[in-house]
């Protein structure tokens, strides 16, 4: 019994990481109906920026976030206003293709700059520290990751529903043209949304870089878990995204408990079951 609860606890913590991968995607899709194929590669870009910062300034990766987050946010704003805004329109294909191209460009630019060497962000003692919770040993870093995921989701939720900026997000999401008529500059709102999404990506990237070693090519593999967490939780619902990540993580560790070959498969099956039973996800966006 303790083994199964161990698997569930590990799965929940894993879900926190997936939720962080997914939060940015969920935000971007919720505000501007943009499916960002380059999301996984942006996570890796953030991890590399974290690496450069820790190496150059000799600081802890968590401190490096103070630099990486604003830099990624700046990249996001420029990217949105300079490139992606030009592709948004009634057709969803152009932005999809542009972000696909962006993914290839980021991967190869990282390869040119940082080479194919696997790198890791060293967090010092926290990397290997653990807590004993009644027979279940839990790593401190996954626990911190989960806590950060909850805090990030809560923060985004606050911005979305309690601030003027969030009102802007919701307005352009509901109807871009009318929001524009009401005096909102939708190009700017989209830019800010992307900036916020990439600030979250910065957190996800740095935490991923501390959890495992990374190289320029591993971003794409992370994308699918992000998408699945978004869909399971319901499009546009941030708490749903966290729930989606946790469901995915638990499905994977339970699957792996039965047979390690089922780990990824079990996550995909959970995703397909949700899609078949509740096509809008478990917690589709509530009316507001």
């Amino acid at each position: 019994m303790i083994e199964w609860s161990g698997a569930i606890v590990q799965g929940v913590l894993l879900g926190g990481l997936y939720a962080l991968f997914a939060a940015g995607l969920s935000l971007i899709f919720g505000v501007m109906r943009l499916v960002n194929i380059a999301h996984g590669d942006l996570i890796i870009l953030a991890a590399y920026l974290g690496l450069s910062t820790t190496v150059m300034l000799g600081v802890h990766p968590f401190v490096a976030l103070l630099i990486v987050m604003p830099v990624m946010a700046g990249i996001g704003y420029v990217l949105q206003r300079g490139v992606l805004n030009r592709t948004l329109g009634p057709d969803i294909l152009p932005p999809l293709l542009v972000t696909f191209g962006l993914s290839v460009i980021i991967q190869n630019a990282l390869l040119e700059t940082y080479t194919a060497d696997p790198r890791k962000l060293s967090g010092g003692a926290i990397d290997t520290a653990s807590l004993d919770l009644g027979g279940i040993t839990v790593g401190v870093l996954p626990l911190v990751t989960f806590g950060i995921a909850v805090a990030v989701i809560a923060g985004l939720q606050f911005v979305f529903y309690r601030t003027a900026l969030g009102r802007g997000f919701r307005a352009v999401s509901d109807n871009q043209d009318i929001a524009q008529l009401m005096g909102l500059n939708k190009a700017h709102v989209f830019g800010v949304a992307m900036a916020l999404a990439l600030a979250v990506v910065a957190i996800a990237g740095v935490l991923l870089g501390m959890r495992t070693s990374f190289d320029p090519a591993i971003g794409g593999g992370r994308l699918i878990f992000g998408f699945e967490a978004v869909i399971i939780g319901g499009l546009g619902n941030l708490w749903g995204t966290l729930a989606g990540g946790v469901i995915l993580g638990v499905a994977q560790t339970i699957g792996a408990k039965i047979d390690p070959g089922f780990q990824i498969l079990a996550g995909h099956i959970a995703f397909l079951v949700v899609l078949a039973v509740r096509p809008n996800g478990l917690f589709p966006r509530v009316a507001h």
Binding site: T115, D117, P118, T128, S130, R211, T212, S213, D215, L265
Partner: protein, 422 residues
Amino acid sequence: MKNTSRRQFMGALAAGVAAPAILRSTRAYAQSPTIRVGFVTPSTGPLAGFAEADDYILEGLRAHFAGGVTNNGKSYNIEIIKKDSQSNPNRAAEVAAELILSDEVDIITAAATPDTTNPVADQAEINEIPCITTDAPWQPYFFGRGGNPAEGFAYTYHFFWGLEDVIANFTGLWNGSGVAKKVGGLFPNDADGNAWGDAKLGLPPALAAQGFELTDPGRYQPLSDDFSNYISAFKDAGCEIVTGVMIPPDFGTFWAQAAQQGFNPKVATIGKALLFPSAIEALGDRGIGLTSEIWWSPNHPFSSSLTGTSAGDLAGGYSTATGRPWTQPIGFKHALFEVVADVIARAEDLDDADAIAAAIGGTNISTIVGGVNWSNGPVPNVSKTPLVSGQWQKAGDGVELVITNNAHAPEIPVGGELQLLG
């Protein structure tokens, strides 16, 4: 004078345009005959680490080949055409076809994992172009291409070590370590993982035969984010040794989680993930003491048949030129072109693909990675190079791969003793 008709004009134009192509296509009329060698390598993508020394090696070889290679008393220029596979087997097949059909190479070569060697060799076999490959264990190369040990292939040859060498080295390493014979296995669901974990041909039967108790929970998907189930299975079984064939990110995840969840094996011997110094440095202090197979090192007592450079000098030259530590594929890249040059020098007729293929089959040279001789391989078209194993140990500020077990290839000297982890 009769006016030139349109038809005559078009005919003359066509002949004029086609003439250079026709005249150039026969080597006999050319001023300085050139042998074209195609080289497919993963310069970009996840396998790029294997190819990082390509440019250094090719530069050295081009300088060496500038004087030409003599065949039957005639000097030939060698032109090496490099193409990027982008770490993608489909792309590798595509550029191989390009090299064969539009660049019209006389010999094609490829290196770095079955994802590069197999599609290139398959294209070469179909198009009847001689092909030499390296840098992939021979089982996935030979059996992965549907090879039949009774027949072999007509045009495609490969040199590297095989799974049986890895098994002998790993068990040799563990037998000498004196820890409990309980092994935890981490095998992914990919070509390498399935071959290593195979219940008939892989590690399990070999370990059982030598009295090791293997805990193998099953095949995981590469790029997994969670290994807690493996870790609890290994803990329950009391494993003191961990082994497997993993990519660096997966090993990084596993190794961090193992520490977080209180699993501390005494020996960790992992294939593939621990080949490059960069992979070890990425792990920080937790990378010290890990063990791995060693295909080539600066301490190998071999030297180049082309330039006479020793293994140590080749590796040192690379580090000086690029400021980066040496890596194991460097020696094999150089050896690949040693074989090519040797074949070009010996072939009876360089215009005949069959004669070149026959010359490859008759190779018997001592290269910078050891002897290459296709007459005594485990299966036709495969020649084996020696394999040893060792440990990453601290050396000054960095890490150094020290050979600790040479039972399988005693000609390669041991550099130190195995130290237990933890």
